[in-house]
Amino acid sequence: MEDKKKFAWLSYIIMGSAQIMKGEYIKGIFLLLVEVLTIIFGIPYFAHGLWGIVTLGETKFHYNEKGIAVFDHSIFLMLQGIISILLILIIIGIYIYNVKDAYKAKEEKKITLRDKIDRNFHYIFMTPGILALLFFILLPIIFTVLIAFTDYSSPYHLPPRNLVNWVGLRNFKELFGLKIWNETLSGVFVWTVTWAILATVTSFFVGLMWALIVNSAGVKIKKLWRTIFIIPYAVPGLISMLIMRLLFSGPGPINDFLEHLGLQRIGWLTDPHIAKITLVLINMWLGAPYFMALMTSILTNIPKDLYESSDIDGATAFQKLRHITLPMVLYSTMPLLISSFAYNFNNFMLIYAVTDGGPVNPNYRYAGHTDILISWIYKMTLNQQQYHMASVVTILIFLMIAPIVAYTFTRSKSFREEDLI
């Protein structure tokens, strides 16, 4: 055994060599392959990627003497750079494993392939998930964060025609310093928070009210009412939103009905203030059933003796609600209430499908009266191509939502049992 271990140092230079000498052929060949591939394909790609992420390209768009367009595409270069860094980290990880493994003695017992797989089961099992996580979540996040420090925007810094440059904190300074940006940010922010609170609280209380009334002693055929009240939850959200958009539109049936009654038509979605109220109402229709479904099971879990003893003390129905039901329900649903707040804070679909942020607000830059932060970002990205500012606001949203979500998670059951902190 010992003489074979002598060759372990070799694995510093040739990955997998020690493993092959030990007779672990599959592992050794795999490691060797990693090294060969890294040298042949990896190094040129990484060099280009790292150069790209540092410079964001140097050749401006032009036609060479043969009339072929020559250019560096800054955004592709940045992406390549990030991919390179991620891959380099993975390869370093494999390399460290390779060296450590080389110094281990060979397994004495002959073990079957089945056992081998089983022993490393957790790594094998997690690989697809981790890869998906790396490339479809982590990579895009890094990319988005980095964009905030560039001038990637229309009209002068849009590849492939133009190069993009690193600008440091300039975008952050502009967002807070320039009046038009600043005004839009604060206006949209205030409405976003108001919206998130109103939307959550209204659907919470309507849901609670439904649950309380449907479950109260005097009501017959509870199942029928419960089924009716849960229907909006089962109808696909986007469809309901589009239906609502039509219902409340200028020539829509609600205004027709008002006219029949001899009343004026109302600009449900076109008046800045009424549009906000309409959105909250629509959200109530969409969101209350969810809370009702939750409350129904929570209400049945409240110990009956609490109510019985309060009956003896002569408590009124309202007092029972105020001092028993409400605290119990709030305690159980607090985490969900908070995550519902976070959800509404970023409830892009509703705003987009119903009002599209409208009506237009001339004092805002690229935002309308009912735009929340996330729909503002969407407009900046897809309609205005102001990617740099969109990224800055994205980072701000992250900084605002992260503590809320973290708090919710630290209170959830699966987290507590984990004692991570």
Binding site: F121, I231, I243, M349
Partner: protein, 295 residues
């Protein structure tokens, strides 16, 4: 007044429930009025869209909730005059693939995090937690560029890869929490009998976690029906279009004359999904409330 005051104690002590006091009747009326008005508010939009889909005309202005001569012409037109069948097929494909991918990726991860103790486990869990805070929706530009580099723009598989990757952080925690509640002694017993980790997973854990897995599969199946943003970002050509894109265009397009077609199209989407929800109601409530604090 005098006569009515005397029998009250009798009623109270002998048969308190049978006879209703005026107050109780008023309360009953109030409760039922409340229930009925709410029912009207809830059902109105749905009945309106059903009624509209049966209207002979095609505009929002002329349609009425109870059409005088109902017709199924719009349902027919959906299949003869529009790409509706293609949208439906594409959406089903994306939804189904997303369901498979998401369920596999997430349950695998959750199982490993729930049952194995290894280096980097805690770091992994915390990373996933942090990642899920960042709304994946906000990485639009990055996803677009990435898919372009991978040559996956305008393909359904690109969309599915993104969807199933994006749901991992939130759902891994949810499923892991459920797996944690399954007693470890069951695994150990299986191990003693010579089961591998994989058979333990498929034979012991999966069957016991059916409710939460159904919930996960259902939500990842429904997701693609409702997302409009990424689909319109990734998918370009008419043959790749999905229902969300098609229906959205019918409503927001310049010509608002396709209104009744939209109504019919919306119903053909809503009915199967509503039925699916009705059948799987039990699992949904369980999945939803698993985030609540259980006393």
């Amino acid at each position: 007044m005098k006569e009515t005051t005397t029998p009250v104690p009798e009623i109270k002590f002998v048969k308190p429930k049978k006879k209703l006091t005026p107050k109780a009747i008023a309360l009953k009326v109030l409760v039922y009025t409340f229930l009925i008005t709410n029912t009207i508010f809830i059902l109105f939009p749905i009945l309106w869209i059903i009624g509209s889909s049966l209207n002979p005309g095609d505009s929002l202005y002329s349609s009425s909730m109870i059409p005088k001569n109902p017709t199924f012409i719009h349902y027919k037109e959906l299949f003869t005059k529009t790409d509706y069948p293609i949208w439906y097929k594409n959406t089903l494909k994306v939804a189904f693939l997303n369901m498979i991918f998401s369920t596999i990726l997430t349950t695998f991860n959750a199982y490993v995090f729930s049952r194995f103790r290894f280096k980097g486990r805690k770091a992994g869990l915390v990373t996933i937690l942090v990642l899920q805070v960042f709304p994946s929706f906000l990485t639009l530009t990055a996803i677009y560029t990435l898919l372009m580099q991978l040559n996956l723009l305008n393909t359904h598989i690109g969309l599915v890869l993104f969807y199933s990757g994006a749901q991992i952080p939130a759902n891994t925690w949810l499923i892991k929490g459920y797996f944690d509640q399954i007693p470890k002694s069951l695994d150990e017993a299986a191990r003693v009998d010579g089961a591998t980790n994989f058979t333990t997973f498929t034979r012991i854990i999966m069957p016991l976690a059916v409710p939460i897995i159904v919930f996960l599969a259902l939500t990842s199946f429904i997701g693609p029906w409702m997302d409009f943003i990424f689909q319109s970002l990734v998918l370009r050509t008419a043959d790749k279009k999905t229902l969300a894109m098609g229906l959205m265009e019918m409503v927001t397009g310049q010509t608002n004359t396709k209104f009744t077609l939209f109504a019919a199209g919306a119903i053909l989407v809503a009915v199967p999904i509503t039925i699916l929800y009705a059948f799987l109601q039990k699992y949904i409530v369980e999945g939803l409330s698993s985030g609540a604090v259980k006393s």
